[in-house]
């Protein structure tokens, strides 16, 4: 797993995600309080990740205030106001691994590589998002304080 050859091979794979080495984190009272990067994320980049279907995938299930994005899903709570409903640490835990909050959730674990079955070779050993991207999305979600936004049904 940690052989140099494996590292080299993975380093040349395209894609957003990092291999093998995940940042360690602590879960306390339903939160991951510390930033995975030690830095605050960038909400502008975070918004782009959330809106982009192939990257964040968020709008396949969630609605939110994205007037430019049509065909948002309705399988999960709206993102509108989520920054008021949840703390930064709660959002971070839900992004990293929502199954830690609710074992039955359909939300994919965005920062986990273990305990997954039959992952396709192209995605094996990779997280959906890397640590800076998780922080960007968390920073963006924290800006969503308005409960009334995104109610376009």
């Amino acid at each position: 797993m940690r052989a140099p050859a494996a590292f080299l091979a993975l380093a040349f794979l395209p894609g957003p995600c990092q291999a093998a080495e995940l940042v360690q984190y602590q879960i306390e009272n339903g939160e991951i309080r510390a930033s995975l990067t030690g830095q605050p994320g960038n909400p502008v980049r975070g918004r782009a990740i959330v809106a982009e279907r192939q990257k964040g995938l968020c709008l396949l299930c969630h609605t939110g205030s994205f007037p430019e994005e049509r065909f948002q899903g309705d399988l999960a709570p709206t993102l509108a106001g989520v920054g008021a409903r949840m703390s930064e640490g709660q959002l971070r835990l839900r992004m990293v691994d929502g199954t830690k909050v609710n074992g039955q959730t359909i939300m994919p674990p965005y920062y986990r590589i273990d305990g997954l079955a039959r992952v396709a070779p192209a995605f094996r050993g990779k997280t959906l998002l890397n640590a800076p991207e998780i922080e960007d999305v968390v920073a963006y979600l924290r800006t969503l304080r308005d409960d009334d936004a995104g109610q376009s049904k």
Binding site: L60, F71, L75, I106, P108, L116, A117, R118, K126, L128
Partner: protein, 256 residues
């Protein structure tokens, strides 16, 4: 005698269906399609899946193998001999001691009876023959055989249906039981009843099998699909056919 018994069984099954219908919340994917796509399926002249069925019809009587036998040489008119067959598959194959889906049975017959070699999975010919045989059961209720030898395979299919898979970590059940009727992006999540296979999928621009459709879902969850013809797909089909028991066969269906 056997025919009488079987008729009685069918009547009993139909009566059960009729009784259950009032509370049956099951929906075929057909029920949720737009009127245009429904009309395309309903009218044989506009249903693109019928092209595959027609090709299958000519293959049915095309000689193959050293003895130049065709399906028709043994089975005669498909409209008589194949009626209701697709509604009972997958079935247990004594020779291989495992369940076979309809396509697998056709390919096995081609290989062992006609000695013309197996037909590759998802090949045009195999899809065509399967569609033609499936068409002979159109309108009939799905009637999985009561064969105890199938039970462990069906149970394995049920377990697979509930197993999370892929980087996105979804199980079939999470979408098609718990969230059926909801929308993944723009797409309505159907209840995933295998009533119409092989079917013409507009997204494919082709007629394809249930295994091809299951494969699409697995790729969508970023899972490694099972091998075509693999036992896992047949186990899943056994479970799905049981889950859809009593619903009408639509082959060849049309889906978005």
């Amino acid at each position: 005698m056997w025919n009488e018994l079987r008729s009685a069984g069918v009547i009993a099954a139909l009566a059960l269906c009729a009784g259950a219908r009032a509370e049956d919340a099951r929906r075929s994917g057909f029920d949720d399609m737009g009127p245009g796509t429904q009309a395309m399926q309903r009218e044989d002249s506009s249903n693109p899946g019928m092209l595959s069925a027609l090709e299958g019809e000519s293959l049915w009587s095309a000689p193959a193998g050293p003895a130049q036998t065709s399906c028709a040489s043994c089975h005669g008119e498909a409209s008589a001999s194949m009626k209701g067959v697709a509604a009972r598959y997958p079935a247990f194959d004594t020779a291989s001691q495992r369940p076979l889906d309809l396509a697998g049975r056709i390919s096995q017959c081609r290989d062992q009876r006609q000695q013309a070699g197996p037909l590759p999975r998802e090949s045009r010919e195999l899809v065509a023959l399967t569609t033609y045989v499936g068409l002979q059961s159109r309108g009939q209720p799905i009637a999985p055989p009561e064969d105890a030898r199938l039970t462990p395979f069906r149970d394995a299919g049920k377990a697979l249906y509930s197993q999370r898979m892929g980087q996105l970590n979804f199980s079939c059940a999470q979408c098609h039981d718990e969230n059926a009727g909801g929308h993944l992006g723009a797409a309505l999540i159907p209840q995933a009843h295998p009533t119409g296979y092989p079917l013409y999928r507009l997204e494919w621009q082709a007629t394809g099998s249930l295994q091809r459709r299951l494969r699409n879902c697995m790729i969508g969850t970023r899972a490694e699909p099972f091998t075509y013809g693999g036992l896992e797909y047949i186990e899943l089909e056994l479970f799905l056919m049981q889950r859809a028991a009593g619903m009408a066969i639509e082959t060849p269906a049309v889906r978005p």
